[in-house]
């Protein structure tokens, strides 16, 4: 598996690689992901109220916080760094995002629908119904941006940096895509905060 995930080219023709290989998926994190997946499955399967709420609140809090921080704090800083500095940062930062973000998104979404249904928030006469529909739309737009643009760019940067001769211009272009989309999802998370605090207090 390590061989499959370690992507440094095996057909390297140039000078020996003096850069450490980037592990696109940090294997040490996979057992933690497995525990989270089992926990969420048990919570859903047994309708365990505390575990459902914990998964949704912890996953959602992390998702929102990370998106806001990356989009509005890390992103602008990254945009002002030189290409080598960006590459150095990305080599350490992006593999962690590859494993953290899908996990917290899965925790939040898989449990959120069940909680909303149990609390009656999905019913048409619920005061929270309209807010939840807006929330679905916000999450839908964020998912399309994250899955269609941000994550592919993130992984493509890591593969590019593992090449014997990485293309700096291409890395810069993909990183710009990452920074812009992270900024958009960060701003959209503000809407999520407003919606979820409205839902929790009505």
């Amino acid at each position: 598996m390590s061989e499959a995930l370690d992507v440094a080219s095996s057909t390297h023709e140039g000078p020996p690689l003096d850069r450490p290989r980037i592990q696109v998926v940090p294997l040490r994190g996979l057992p933690i992901v497995a525990v989270v997946v089992v926990f969420v499955a048990v919570a859903i399967g047994t309708n365990w109220q505390w575990a459902l709420m914990f998964s949704h609140v912890a996953g959602g809090g992390l998702w929102t916080g990370i998106d806001l921080f990356v989009g509005l704090v890390i992103g602008p800083i990254l945009g002002r760094l030189s290409i080598p500095a960006r590459a150095e940062f990305a080599a350490r930062f992006m593999p962690k995002m590859v494993i953290i973000m899908p996990t917290v998104v899965m925790m939040t979404l898989a449990t959120g629908f069940q909680i909303a249904r149990q609390l009656g928030n999905l019913k048409i006469d619920s005061p929270n119904h309209a807010w939840l529909i807006v929330s679905f739309c916000v999450v839908g737009i964020m998912a399309a941006i994250a899955l269609g643009v941000l994550e592919p760019a993130n992984i493509a940067v890591l593969f590019e940096m593992n090449k014997p001769v990485p293309n700096g211009e291409r890395i810069g272009r993909l990183m710009k895509r990452f920074i812009v989309t992270a900024g958009i999802t960060g701003i959209m998370q503000i809407a999520t905060l407003i919606i979820m605090t409205r839902v929790a207090t009505q």
Binding site: G14, I124, F136, G140, G148, N167
Partner: protein
């Protein structure tokens, strides 16, 4: 690797490709819209004509994406398959969890079939987008 070789390689990998990622992302967008539409009606049943139209649109875009992909002659299929199989594993697990939540919430019948088909498109389209984006910048096989 010489400068000339690097430059030639760069030209090879920066060549234009069909809009595979755009089509698969379009399929993803349609099933996301369909999912929002279904969820907005829960626990009632959403109008089937709308959900089935969105599902069919997503299926057509995904099929177009796969067709455009298999027609590409010069491409790093090795890189594509390496990324695709791991991404597919990850998104099949994610889709499975969402399906599990719907089944746990007693979604049954045609609604469950529609949700399952939408999740299938989700689980295939995202790995295609990721793997194609990575492989288009890799050295062709």
């Amino acid at each position: 690797m010489s400068v000339e070789h690097a430059s030639a390689s760069s030209n090879m990998v920066d060549r234009p490709y069909p809009p595979v990622a755009w089509l698969s992302t379009g399929a993803l967008c349609l099933v996301i819209i369909g999912g929002i539409f279904l969820a907005s009606y829960a626990p009632r049943v959403a109008p089937r004509s709308v959900t089935i139209s969105l599902l069919a649109g997503g299926a057509v875009l995904l099929a177009a994406s796969i067709t455009a992909l298999v027609r590409v002659k010069v491409f790093s299929w090795t890189t594509f398959m390496k990324v695709f199989k791991w991404a597919l594993l990850a998104y099949v697990i994610t889709a499975g969890m969402i399906e599990f939540a719907f089944v746990g919430d007693h979604t049954r019948g045609v609604s469950l079939v529609i949700v399952s088909c939408m999740l299938l498109i989700f689980a295939v389209s995202v790995p295609i987008t990721i793997a194609f984006t990575v492989a288009r910048y890799a050295e062709p096989d």
